[in-house]
Amino acid sequence: MELRVDRVSHSYDGRKVLNEVTLDVPEGQIVCIVGPSGCGKSTLLRLMGGLEEPASGQVQQVGEAPAGCLNPLTYIFQDFALLPWRTVAGNVALALEDHALGRMEMRARIDGVLARTRLQEFGKALPRQLSGGMKQRVAIARALAVDPAVLLMDEPLSALDSQTRELLMDDLITLWTKTPFTAVYVTHNLAEAVRLGHRVVVLSRRPGEVREIVTLDQPLGQRSYGDTDLERTQKHLWGLMRDEAMAADAELVSG
């Protein structure tokens, strides 16, 4: 399944945050969206998954979701959004309970995703017992449990320290290499964008417009920490964003 954003504009209280954004999310690829703070990248993601309605333009799903998919557009949130009163397995189960799955299939799905995210031993733990990195892995497991057609990730690693971030990036790359998934990955971190993205969409300062779409050809599995080609792309992206970021930083928040 593909996701197509067609001339989407959006505003809050008469303030335009997105202007005529058009982009494609092809099947089996990770599309990263970067931009200075306040450029509307998280808003764009909420519009793509139907958590908000665009003021104009439209977001379209193209093609059918794969068989067994329970929730085609599935989010992974920056602050994990785990229910603190449910165990790890219970949090994964939450996404499945509203679907008429048999006890066996439910069990199989939960065990399967916990194994894929290396959380088998922590099924009975409560979120408060987990580190930030483990919490986000639980959220990733919960998202994978519904066999999503497109994963919508909103700065999934921003709440984590830099070492955990590296580890989780490796996890995501491993997951993708084993079974390629389609994803939109919003981040303000260019290093994450060049490590994980098949395409990097650069948004301008508010109101957000697509400035450039950079395509990275190097296979995900071959990209590593400190790669020179990636560094070059990252510098190019920073060159695009630097002035915008400075201007955005100097803006009054509600001016």
């Binding site: 009163w85 509203d98 408060r128």
Partner: protein, 264 residues
């Protein structure tokens, strides 16, 4: 050592209460001991304060005569029925107010208007509405526990983390699932905190409820002792209410430890 070097003085610490259960008992014992000594030595006249040992004796007589349970059981049943009714209606209405803007807009002013009414003042009215028997007593306690429960519940619903609700929506959970699995557990800490206050109010209102048309009951017992100025019996009754309060509060504590074990 460098003679210019000084140890940095410690100035943190404090402001972190720790559980020291025995201190509470010591304070109790000291106060009771002082009262006992004061009344025995004549420093405190028997008109001002009964001798604690006399209160204990009155209490044991009450127990021996079997009257203790004759008073306690009707009171407990009034408390349980009245509070159960008030709390369950309060939680349901509070939830509706938390979930539906229309209900909230309609009921917030009404709740604000009935909250400050001293419910005791309405007892004669309740006697007419619900009868002089148990009905008016249930109604008084139910009405008194209803308002604090409503307020606690809808503020607790307001405080449920919105990102969790958005998460529920993003996974396509039904409205009922979101309420049952996200809103209700998320509001539970606030609801239980409100329950502490409501149940204390229920005990206060128990005495008021037994002012009219009650032969037996802790409240009736206290009121009778008061009008006869029988301080020993008055205090024996008050002690029973205090013990009841402590029991209710520790029961809620136990529920909190079970239901809210996910909190740090």
């Amino acid at each position: 050592m460098d003679k210019n070097a000084r140890t940095v003085a410690f100035r943190g610490g404090g402001f972190a209460p720790r559980g020291r259960a025995w201190v509470g008992f010591v304070v109790f014992a000291v106060l009771l001991g002082a009262a006992e000594w004061g009344t025995r030595s004549g420093l405190i006249s028997p008109l001002t304060l009964p001798r604690p040992s006399d209160v204990v004796q009155t209490f044991s007589e009450l127990y021996a005569s079997g009257l203790l349970f004759a008073h306690l059981l009707p009171s407990l049943s009034r408390l349980v029925v009245g509070a159960a009714f008030g709390v369950s209606v309060g939680i349901s209405v509070g939830l509706m107010m938390g979930l539906f803007s229309l209900v909230r807009a309609g009921l917030v002013p009404l709740v604000a208007a009935i909250f400050p009414i001293p419910k005791i003042a309405l007892l004669p009215l309740f006697v007419i509405w619900f009868g002089i028997d148990e009905g008016s007593k249930y109604a008084l306690i139910a009405f008194g526990t209803f308002t604090p429960t409503v307020v606690a519940t809808y503020t607790a619903v307001d405080n449920v983390d919105r990102t969790l609700i958005r998460m529920g929506q993003s996974f396509g959970l039904s409205w009922l699932s979101i309420v049952r699995k996200i809103v209700l557990p998320g509001a539970m800490p606030g609801i239980l905190a409100g329950l502490r206050i409501s149940l204390a109010i229920a005990i206060i209102l128990l005495v008021a409820a037994e002012m009219l048309g009650a032969e037996y009951g802790i409240g009736a017992y206290i009121l009778e002792a008061g009008s006869l100025y029988d301080l020993e019996r008055l205090f024996a009754g008050v002690v029973i209410l205090s013990v009841l309060g402590v029991l209710v509060s520790s029961a809620i504590g136990a529920i909190e430890r079970r239901v809210l074990n996910w909190r740090t």
